[in-house]
Amino acid sequence: MERDDIIEYSLEAHHSEEHGRKVRRTIWMVTLLLAIVTTVEVTLGAYWKTWFSLDAWHTIKWLYVVLTLVKAGYIVKTFMHLGDERSNIRAIILLPYVLFILYLIFIAIWESQYVNYLWENYL
């Protein structure tokens, strides 16, 4: 009997040599971008106190968050090929996750401020 669990239903399993060259160029461009962003992050993390005043930390912190999201976006889009999938599969993967996590971040930050307030004032 033929095993049906190893049939892969593969739709986009092949591409030509020519298309492969294009894919590889994209991969190396993304690699370069990720390397640059990481270098910027590390250099800033190690030396920002020498270059900027302490007030700059707030801006740097948000810059880190943005740069991280840029990196994550490129990894998911190019390395994990999610950019090549249909829009409906993109939506069922990303939307529930993003909605839930945004709420989790919101409620954790909100509640932690209250816990901090209690500890500062009543304990």
Partner: protein
């Protein structure tokens, strides 16, 4: 690879219902669902870290002051080692995606080459993490407290030295109030000036408490604090990087199994290398998680 929506699908690639609404294979879809649930776990851990850090009333250690050592070298190299680990993991992600690309061209030699590089990169990352754990465990020194409450940081260049004052190059650095560990530069860019020689020996003699720095609550003279400040800091360090490290470890094993199957020609006979793609999804996810751990644990 684009424009799938308009594509006419042949019967043997459709699911049982007669049409494939997502134009994606069963295995890939289930891998994505697993990754979403795993991503929720990691997000939960990082959000919990944020909750504790945001609610604590104690000073919290700063990444670039904790992680600044390199193997075989003395001196301060803030975040360089972690950056190296990040580079290794990103690069092994690149070799993985190149293996997937080679698989799309049915280039068996290319898949073997790039997948092998990926396995090596992953093994290097796990090894690096072992060193970092060991170093974190040892700690870099401890604190002495004076009668008036001021604290001085004692760097132990020699581990297991019970009397650091007689170690070579003994020096003390005054700790900033509400601050753990010693920064390389003070706010405003001034260098931190250590106390050396007789002055340092004098301070050492008059100390009230010496708290050896190590994240064991049971090894210090008391368990109120350790070198890394609040106990939760080292708890989260071990749990988050440990959970991620275990993912890397299992990823290496999975990649190794797939590599062996590629060498045996299993996928070539099957006619496509989708298994490499699915293992690749998991591997990229491990890289993706590290990007977030790197930012929220080490940088912020």
């Amino acid at each position: 690879m684009t424009g799938d929506a308009a594509k006419v699908l042949s019967n043997d690639v459709l699911w049982g219902g007669g049409r494939s609404p997502f134009s994606i294979s069963y295995g890939k879809m289930m891998m994505w669902f697993f990754l979403v649930s795993d991503a929720l776990t990691f997000s939960g851990l990082l959000v919990a870290y944020g909750f504790v850090r945001h609610s604590t009333t104690e000073p919290w250690p700063i990444g670039e002051e904790v992680f600044r050592a390199l193997p075989f070298l003395h001196g301060s190299y803030p975040l360089i080692y972690v950056a190296l680990m990040t580079a290794i993991l990103i690069f092994s992600s690149v070799t993985m995606v190149l293996a997937v690309e080679a698989g799309h061209r049915m280039d068996k030699g290319g898949v073997v080459k790039w997948l092998f590089a990926t396995v090596i990169g992953g093994a290097f990352f796990v090894g690096s993490q072992a060193w970092e754990w060991s170093h974190f465990n040892h700690g870099g020194g401890g604190f002495i407290t004076m009668a008036d409450g001021t604290r001085y940081w004692v760097e132990t260049t020699h581990h297991d030295t019970h009397d650091p004052a007689h170690a070579e190059g003994f020096q003390l650095v005054q700790a900033l109030p509400k601050h753990y560990l010693i920064p390389d530069t003070l706010p405003g860019g001034a260098n931190v000036e250590p106390v050396t020689g007789d002055a340092a020996q004098q301070l050492w003699k008059n100390k009230v408490v010496y708290m050896a720095g190590a994240p064991y609550p049971w090894s210090a003279n008391g368990n109120e604090y350790n070198e890394y400040g609040p106990q939760q800091y080292s708890n989260f360090f071990y749990f988050i990087t440990g959970f991620h490290g275990f993912h890397v470890f299992s990823g290496v094993i999975i990649n190794l199994i797939v590599l062996i199957m590629v060498v045996q020609g299993v996928f070539h006979r099957r006619g496509h290398y989708e298994m490499v793609e699915k293992a690749g999804l998991y591997w990229h996810f491990v890289d993706l998680v590290w990007v977030f751990v790197f930012t929220f644990f080490y940088l912020l």
